[in-house]
């Protein structure tokens, strides 16, 4: 809780400073089109990652999974060339979604049923999935959406909808999709028995198992859902350039994991949640947006990104007293 509050405080402080120093920061244009739209696809994956991490695991393979999904989406569209646009897109979404869930399930099976720890599992699948993407693209060629579908697909990313019909305030489709995914994730995590079990397994997996909870199913389901969110993100992001490449989304996993951690979900799970992750993601996205605006050169940006994460978590550790409970024995 303290960490989340400090992140909110830091975010507010940065926003205030930014709007003072830069005339364009607090404009609707910048905030909605730049910050939030860029963050939207990350946010979707972060919803899945939050579930995985609350249950006590984590997933390094999300970048590669998203890549495979985007390649699958484009290839499906290519295979559907000549069909009606809506049919092609519907099939592509179905195929992509199935791909994402399947890849996630592979992670889930390895972690929950074979027993390989999450780090080793997802490190391996990170490499394996990227290899699959290379094979599907015949060695790394860029694949493109067929010309006939380009404008509709592009609208998935670039399309705008007016808020409450007011023309000045428009939000992009990615943001709307993110809001939908976020709402569904909230429902899943806080209102269903499954979500309750996610917290239980993260809190004490052994006790949950002894209480009769199907811990293997819970854990593998979180990975499958995370794969699903990767697929959704891929669908959106394909619309940005109407192409897919095997080399994209590098480093994605680190940003998503960082959002969850900075937001306040502890590495062992059992606490934290979606709102925490949202705050973490907003902080990191705002900083991303401001780095070029404040003239921070390319070379220094990684240092800034890394320092923010380290400082936020260090402050939390120091304030909380390194997690040692004051109980007498």
């Amino acid at each position: 809780m303290i960490q989340a509050l400090s992140v909110v405080g830091l975010l507010a402080a940065i926003c205030i400073v930014a709007s003072v120093r830069s005339a364009t920061f607090f404009s609707w244009q910048n905030l909605v089109y730049n910050v939030l739209t860029n963050a939207a696809y990350l946010g979707i994956i972060a919803c899945g990652m939050t579930l995985v991490m609350v249950a006590g695991g984590f997933d390094l393979s999300v970048g590669s999974t998203t890549t495979v999904c985007s390649v699958a989406a484009v290839l499906t569209l290519q295979a559907m060339a000549g069909q009606p646009v809506w049919l092609a897109i519907a099939v592509a979404v179905a195929v992509t979604t199935a791909t994402g869930v399947m890849l996630g399930a592979v992670n889930g099976a390895s972690v929950a049923y074979v027993g390989v720890n999450p780090f080793v599992t997802t490190l391996s699948t990170m490499l394996i999935f990227r290899g699959i993407a290379l094979i599907l693209t015949h060695g790394g060629q860029t694949v493109s959406v067929p010309l006939a579908f380009k404008s509709v697909v592009g609208r998935i990313y670039w399309g705008k909808v007016s808020l409450f019909g007011v023309a000045e305030y428009q939000v992009t489709i990615p943001i709307l999709i993110f809001v939908g995914v976020f709402a569904v994730s909230l429902y899943l995590l806080h209102l269903t028995r499954f979500g309750h079990y996610v917290y239980a397994v993260g809190g004490n997996e052994n006790a949950s198992w002894l209480a009769g909870i199907n811990t293997s199913l819970v854990k593998s389901a979180t990975y499958a859902i995370c794969g699903l969110t990767c697929a959704l993100a891929a669908v959106i992001y394909t619309g940005m350039s109407n192409t897919a490449q095997a080399s994209s989304y590098g480093g994605l996993e680190l940003v998503v994991i960082a959002s969850v951690i900075v937001g306040g979900t502890p590495l062992g799970g059992g606490g934290g949640g979606l709102f925490f992750t949202l705050i973490g993601l907003l902080l990191l996205s705002v900083i991303e947006n401001l780095l070029p605006q404040f003239g921070v050169q390319e070379e220094y940006r990684n240092i800034v990104r890394g320092l923010i994460i380290l400082i936020v978590v260090a402050v939390d550790v120091l304030v909380r007293g390194s997690g040692k409970k004051a109980r007498r024995t």
Partner: protein, 502 residues
Amino acid sequence: MMKPGDTILHMEGIVKTFQAVRALDGVDFDLGAGEIHALVGENGAGKSTLMNVLAGRFADYGGRIALFGRDVRLTNPRQALALGIGVIYQDLSVLGNLTVAENILLGHEPGGRAPGTLNRRALRARAQAVLDDLGFDLCVDEPVAPLSHAKQCLVEIAHAIRKDVRLLVFDEPTASLGADDVERLFEVIRGLKARGIGIVYISHRLAELPEIADRVTVLRDGKMVGMRPMADCKISVLSHMMLGRTLTEMFPPKRNTPGETILKVEGLSRPGMFHDITFELRAGEILGIAGLVGSGRTEIARAVFGAERAAGRCTLEGRVFARRSPRRSMARGIGMIQEDRKRDGIITGSSVALNVGASVLDRLSAMGVFLDPRRIRANARRMIERLAIRPPDPARAIQTLSGGNQQKVILGRWLARDPKVLILDEPTQGIDVGTKAQMYRLMMDLAAAGKGIILISSEFFEIVNLADRILVIRDGRIVREMPGPGTDVDALFAACVRKGDS
């Protein structure tokens, strides 16, 4: 509904092996409805293993189990729960990050109207109903993590008692409870008995058994030694069956003579944990520290050792020492064997030799930098022989040794430094009978050689039979000093528990 007297559980010839160790070697056990059957034995005797088989934790046991007249093969916890078996574990398995209500109904939460959702209002109401039924004073919305150990015990019990439970296992339930809580627990258990539930009561505190148990079965080294009706049983006989020897044979004769004061502790305090701790330790003396769980004994010892921060003054052999870290304390000649061997003692994955030599690696290295395998092995062999460590192989991985032998390795680690003061925190916990007796002899040898020993133990008969003086700790303060010889266990227990004493 079962009638009292119906057999609800019949276990025959149960065998369970862990790697090379036969934890259970053909054990029989049965239980009737409305009966409280005590299962006793020293650590390592197999009591918890037998109940873990019943709880469905192991799929690979040998022997036959019949529940309510039907043969079953218990392979996973969910199956055991579905069959009406509930277990309250010794190392509590509560979920600290959830509330009391969520813990009580873990695994069978009431559903909401939409499929898959949780009905939180019904959850709280049902949990409250369970608490009211049992008479436990707990708040349903409280998070469990900050609760005291005793209260977490109650949560665990409330979780295990469900509408359809027919058989309940209590594994060392009173280990961390005060006298009032113990009495309340017994009331709860008697109430369950009246409902026809069969109860297995595991304990190694023999004194409480006549009050609660109908029958008692004794296990030793994985084998069943005897089964008797409680009424026909004398504690001393039970004790003999558990140990395979009489109590007096367990303890070595006193041959240490306390001399000059070597350690003086003055005004040791840490807000919230302990307050104004002042005592002296003499060379060649065994000073016992007694107190219930939660009294602060371990924290005080760790503070003296430098593992916890505390205000106050300590002098060793007349010179003040700073208690800043275990490393410094070690250099000054103080050693401490920690309470939790697995977490704070052994270095898992390392060999016996490296574990034994961990505190003196500087002396076992060429120029203090390069590890010298020959010196390390020689040191290990010396300790193995002196302490009779089995198996006598320096290269063995430490985690393959039994608890007792692991403890001997840790002791060897400290002996290598020849400390002037040695603090032992629950040194015989989780150790088989034979090794316990060996540890007692080693302690007496060390005291007779002029070392100052501080012994913290929950086993009152240990303290009473070994210590020259006993300090009683309650709520972080020293409330009494009692002599070792001559004090009996009940008096010591009473002193630890009684409120309003100064």
